[in-house]
Every structure is written in C-alpha cells, then in structure tokens.
Symmetry: C2
C-alpha cells in the first residue's frame, strides 16, 4: 500500500512549518532575461522555450525545496507550448519529486466515462503500453479536478485516491470574481452547488483518510471568499483545502484563516505570481542576475511563511507544528 | 481577416452532406492488432504508443476525409501518454487539416484570468517565443471549453473566436447521466444553469456570425436530453451544437433532430466508439487486417450519415443541402 498523499503533504508542512504551495507558472513576459538568453542551442523555438522553462523551474525548486512543502505547476503555462511545453512539465515534476517536494498539478481536468478514466490514468495512475505493461505517466501527487459534469465524472479520480494513494483537489469555490455565477446557485435541496459538491467530497473523503487524520480527497476553496470557507470547512472537516487567491488576487492572511482547522493544518495556500514575479516591484527588473532573482523568490516565500505561520500560532493555540 | 470557423465547418457539411464529426479516441485495448505490431523500432514504450496512435489516426483520416466534414480528437486519450501522446495529437491535427478536415479538439479546458488566456493562446491563438515572435501552437479549428468558473473565464476563448476566426463549443448540457446535478439546477432568475450559460453564449455569439449565418461560438448539447435541446436551440439560434451521446451512449436519430435548425444545419453529431470500434461487433475481431478494419470505419460513417441525412430530409423540407 502506497503512502497516502495527504500524509506525505502534511509531513512536509510540519517539517517546513509552512502550509504554502509555490505556484510554478512560467510567464515568458515576466521571467528574468538571464534565463531567456541562457538556453542551449536549439534551432527549434518551442524547444528553446521548453529548455528555458525547465532551467528556470529547476532553480526555483533548488531555492525553495527546504523551505516550502509543495509546488503547483499550472499545466496551462506548459501545455500552451504543445508537446515541448509538456516535456518541460514532465521534467519539472520529476525534478521537484527528486528534491522531496509534493507536486500538485493544477490542470482542472475532467470529462465523462472512459474519458475521465483516461485523465485519471494519465495524471495519477498508470497507462497501458503496446506490450500490455502498465507504466505511470505524469505521476503527480495531487491533481485539481473540475466537478461540472457531475459526481459520476469524479469517481475515476477518487478511485485513484482510495486505491493508489494519490490525491485530488476538486474545484468547490474558486477565487475569481464570477465564480458565483454557477457555484453559488442554490439547488432544490436548499444548498448551494458548492455545498453539494462539498457533501459529495465529504462522503468520499472518508474512504481515504491517512494516518494524520486528513483525506487525500481535498477541495479548492478560494481565499477571496472567507465566508464560504467557514461553511465549507465545517462540511469537509478532513479534507485539505488548496487555497488560491492569496496576495496577487487580493486576499490577506486573515481571509485564509477559516480554511484551516484548529490544529493549524487542513489547508495549503498557493502563491504563484506573488512569489515568482514580486521581484519586479521589489527593486529588481528583468535584467537582474539569477542570484538576485532567486533571492527574491526565497524572500517572498519566507515572508509568506512568516505571515501565515505567525497568524496561525496567534489564533490557534493548539497548532501541532 | 481569417475565415470564420463556422463557415469552414458548414462548407464541409454541405459538401459531404454529412453533419457528423468522427471522434478520434485511440483506445489501445480496442485498436486492431495490426496497428500495434506495425510500429517503427523505438525502445521507448511511450514513443511506440505515440507512433502507433498517429499511424492509426492517419489511416482513419485517409478513409473518411472525403465523406465526413470533421474529426474530434479527445485530448485525454493522447495526454494520458504525456508529451509523447501530445506529439501524436499534434501530428494528427496537422494531418487532418492537411486533408481538409475541420479539427474539433475536445479538451474541456478552462481556468481563470491569465491562465484561461494561456489555454486560449495555446489551443486557438499564438504563443510568445524567446525572440519575441508569436507562433501558433495547437492551432485547432474548434476547442471545447468548460464554463464552471463563470462568464469571465470564457472571455479569452470567445475573443479568439471574434478576433482570430477560431471556434469554441462551451459545455452547456452534457450527455452523461449525472450532468443534471449542476447543469439542471435552477438559479434565482428562474432559469437553469445550462439556460444561463446559453444566454451568455447567445450574447457573445452575435459578435462572430459568419457568412452562412452561424456563429463560431457554439455549445455542447447532449443527444441524450432531447427536451433540453429543444429549449437550448431556441435560446441559441445561431450557435452550432456539438452533439455527443449518439449511438454508444444510447441516443437515436430522432433524439438529435431538435439540435438542428430547419435548414438542416446548426449541429454536428459526434460518434467516436460507434465508428472506431463497431468492427468488434460486426464480424471482425482485433486480428482483422487494416483493410477490413478501415472498411468497417467507412461503413459505419456512411451508415450514420445516411441515418441522419435521411431523417433531416424527411422532417426539414427546406434543408439547404
């Protein structure tokens, strides 16, 4: 039996005293120039970008692997460069895992029937080869999953959690301004759509609770809607929340506290732009050196850790780390 | 100004008298053995699968390119094999386009803010290279898009339709059994979520209506819910419906008629398993020859064309083709 993904994540959070996840969203417009001129000679422009992204991510991973528990590569920023982008993604995942980081793939995948199964197999499970053998493909620790197609579409992913020790974060309440258009609509049972999805997560989360008391079936709950977070925390006590919206999207440290349990666990707060691109407003510009850039990444990571950890210590006297 | 994607699709439908789209969902368990033994020598198992999938798709494309207007590769079946799968996808798209087929990428992508923009750029638009140039990446004709994150998340994709001549199909009412859990919920304005999404599509569809009178902003409407299709057809008169659920999922020719307009246009009906894998119940087995297999693919495509086209001719006397 493989170790439960939630246990792996919580171990790392406790070890680093840091419940955050560093987003790896490579944005060619914002990456320092030193990375862009320093690519091995390939005449293929997609290969150049792929190499650049991997080298850039590798430096970030080296810089934060002892101070943060997890990274969250956002697939869109890789996939946009086609197969070459996906190569950069695969290399990034392998490197991050080798450095002991938990990898949360943010891809918001889903579909129906055997297509949902294909996504679950590819991102979390194993895929069949021509000789009949089964091999892991992306093999990430956690995947974000969309619930729009209904509960049956979530089952292949939940099965990977129950059977295979993997983890998922189902989109329950997202951080963006128009998230309520669908997610806040109240259904005939008097509950909002996000609450109904939370109920479904709660039922299934029970099936894969790890030794630390948390389930590997988690939820995405935006920091920008703290009142929803209070309700959702009650509905899904054992699910870990992946919390976007901190920093760049406007939520502050008080806003994210409802996502945590009194043990100081139960949430990982994401920052992507806030960590990767704050150097541009911190006295550096795109002409800075790698050393200058990476010092900014480390400083922003530690600043966020300090902000969140101090607040957790203040409001939760029984925090376990 | 590039040709509107809806015009390109409708031209092909009229030319082939066939409003269907052939799903390219390579399933290693169901593909005839002759394709699996006939791969060029690579010791990498992922490369072997990639080569096999491409060769298989190429034969299907050659067989149906004069009798069907469009193909719909389902990204999950490629992506599950990682970057090598995506290479097979990219080669398939290029080959299908070279053969004059319209390519509908079924990937159900979406996210928020600049992440949604990254998906839109990668699948429909152009992406920036290290030298500052912009190049098309996947460059498909149409992409399926999920609306779960709200109307603002759809905008980058709709912009590609308005500005760049591309097309999308937004998931409005999907064909699976649990689709109603979210999509049928009635919101405070008295309309179901799928109707609200349809209203949003209608408002934006107006911005990119082609010469044939149809918009390149379309909708996914499952054949398995004909009563919803009647309502949705009225809300979105100029949107093309991508209609899954025919055949393998249980919907018959009468069920799909509400998806069409009286001109016999306005819908493309998908069949994936029904065309690709019916050979297994038509007297062949996985040991059949390529010739036998492809004859089954052609026969199933023509059978479906005949079923749908005759019914359209019967109930719509003013059909334009």
């Amino acid at each position: 039996m493989k170790q439960n993904a939630s246990d792996k994540l919580i171990e790392k959070i406790i070890k680093t005293k840091n419940p955050i996840v560093v987003g790896l969203d490579p944005d060619i417009k914002k990456i320092p120039l030193c990375y862009k001129i320093d690519v091995r000679s390939s005449s293929n422009k997609f290969e150049q970008v792929s190499e650049m992204i991997y080298n850039y991510n590798k430096d970030i991973i080296d810089s934060i692997c002892d101070i943060a528990p997890a990274v969250k590569p956002q697939m869109a920023f890789y996939e946009k460069y086609g197969s070459q982008g996906v190569i950069a993604f695969e290399r990034t995942v392998m490197y991050a895992k080798a450095k002991g980081l938990i990898v949360v793939e943010d891809a918001k995948r889903n579909d129906i029937g055997n297509t949902a199964q294909a996504y679950a197999d590819g991102h979390l499970g194993k895929v069949e080869m021509l000789d009949g053998s089964f091999i892991s493909s992306f093999d990430v620790d956690f995947l974000t999953v969309s619930p729009y197609l209904g509960s049956e579409s979530l089952m292949p992913f939940m099965n990977e959690c129950v059977i295979n020790g993997k983890g998922i974060f189902v989109l329950v309440k997202t951080s963006n301004p128009s998230s309520g258009e669908i997610q806040d609509v109240v259904s005939s049972n008097g509950k909002s759509i996000s609450e109904n999805i939370a109920d479904n997560i709660f039922s299934n989360a029970k099936k894969c609770i790890g030794e630390k008391g948390y389930s590997s079936i988690g939820a995405v709950v935006g920091a920008t809607y703290p009142e929803d977070a209070i309700k959702l925390r009650k509905i899904m006590p054992s699910s870990i929340f992946l919390v976007p919206g901190y920093g760049a999207q406007g939520a502050c440290v008080k806003d994210i506290m409802p996502c945590f349990n009194p043990d100081g666990l139960g949430a990982i707060v994401n920052s992507s732009r806030g960590i990767l691109y704050s150097y541009l407003s911190n006295g550096f510009d795109v002409y800075c050196s790698k050393q200058e850039y990476l010092s900014s990444v480390v400083n922003e990571t530690l600043k966020m850790q300090k902000e969140i950890y101090s607040e957790l210590k203040t409001i939760f006297p029984n925090i376990v780390y």
